[in-house]
Symmetry: C2
Subunit: 194 residues, 2 copies
DNA sequence: ACCTGAACACCGTTCAAGT
DNA sequence: ACCTGAACACCGTTCAAGT
């Protein structure tokens, strides 16, 4: 790639990041190009679709979350690892309004530029869930796809101005429903009789 | 209203219902007018906004759900009434893809044509929740707004092709988390000591 | 090798002009 | 009283022509 092209590309990504942080993932591509003082066609040659642009923009965050999941597997109790990773995921998505819907579409669209990242993320969550289930800390009637859906739904709530104030509370509701009583009362105690 | 205008209006609503059932609430207004063999400006004079059109389209369903809530209050146990009404709400929203997002926006926008209907719906849910809470059948850390948000989130899941297959399962997950153990093991037993 | 203006087919909004 | 064509300011896609 030529030096001027590389510079254009980096500049575009920075401008796109700002625009999308402000206006959400539906920010106009034309507007992003305008802000970057570049023709719309130039933006589209670097990033042929909105998803390709987002993939470049979110790659670092995706990687971080995946690495974090691996770290939590060794550093925290199964229940704590699961819940704190879920919280990280939900918190992260609130940075880019509307990204959840795109991710839900991408996870079953193998053509999407976001597909692989989403599948990897789901797998990371599934591992943490399995670990918690094997420890008797999480319900056994859930799998990685259920978990992905729950995170997506909670993130979606955070995107809706009228519902966002309850997003934290409902995260707690969902998280505690996901865990078993044994995990909630603490791993040191014996589960109480039902 | 003149007879020809009335006829136009009814015809527009029927056509809009079909288009929106097919394509979701984002169906092009221009396309709806085209299908109805009417100028776009005519559609917009009858229904000045997308929300006004949907309000006319959904009014009957809104009323039904509100009436249903009242009936369930006398015909069913507090827990059953709450859960079966929630299921009705979620099932209903799946008929019109995207309606949940519009409703979430409308409930805090007093200018929206859908505002009153959404507020009424939330109040009906809040009554069923209170009744269940007073009977010791539902968690007491939830209110009508939380309930509205949960229904919205579950309905949103049903709108996403990749997540829809889990929507029923996750409805059960949320519903059972909403109820107390006492309500789940049956209303004939005394709540256990916590 | 890289960039871009311009044409295209859409969208919802608005209003002057028609019946 | 009711309807509508047309102008407007947008959108993303595509490609021939320029540097």
């Amino acid at each position: 790639m030529r030096a001027d092209a590389r510079k254009n590309r980096d500049h575009l990504l920075a401008v796109a990041g700002a625009a999308i942080a402000e206006q959400g993932v539906d920010a106009s591509m034309r507007d992003i190009a305008r802000r970057a003082d570049v023709g719309l066609a130039t933006l589209l040659r670097h990033y042929p679709t909105r998803e390709a642009l987002l993939e470049a923009l979110l790659r670092a965050s995706f990687d971080e979350l995946t690495v974090k999941a691996g770290e939590l597997e060794t550093s925290s109790s199964p229940a704590d690892a699961l819940v704190s990773w879920l919280r990280d995921c939900v918190t992260w998505t609130t940075e880019y309004r509307g990204v959840t819907e795109l991710m839900a579409a991408a996870i079953e669209d193998t053509e999407s530029a976001l597909h692989t990242s989403c599948v990897t993320l789901r797998a990371a969550g599934a591992r943490l869930l399995s670990r918690a289930q094997e420890a008797g800390a999480a319900r056994t009637d859930m799998d990685g796809t259920d978990l992905f859906a729950l995170v997506a739904a909670l993130a979606w709530l955070g995107d809706q101005p009228s519902l966002a104030p309850r997003a934290d509370h409902l995260f707690g509701f969902v998280a505690s429903a996901l865990l078993t009583d044994a995990a909630i009362t603490g791993s040191g105690e014996t589960p109480r009789q039902g």
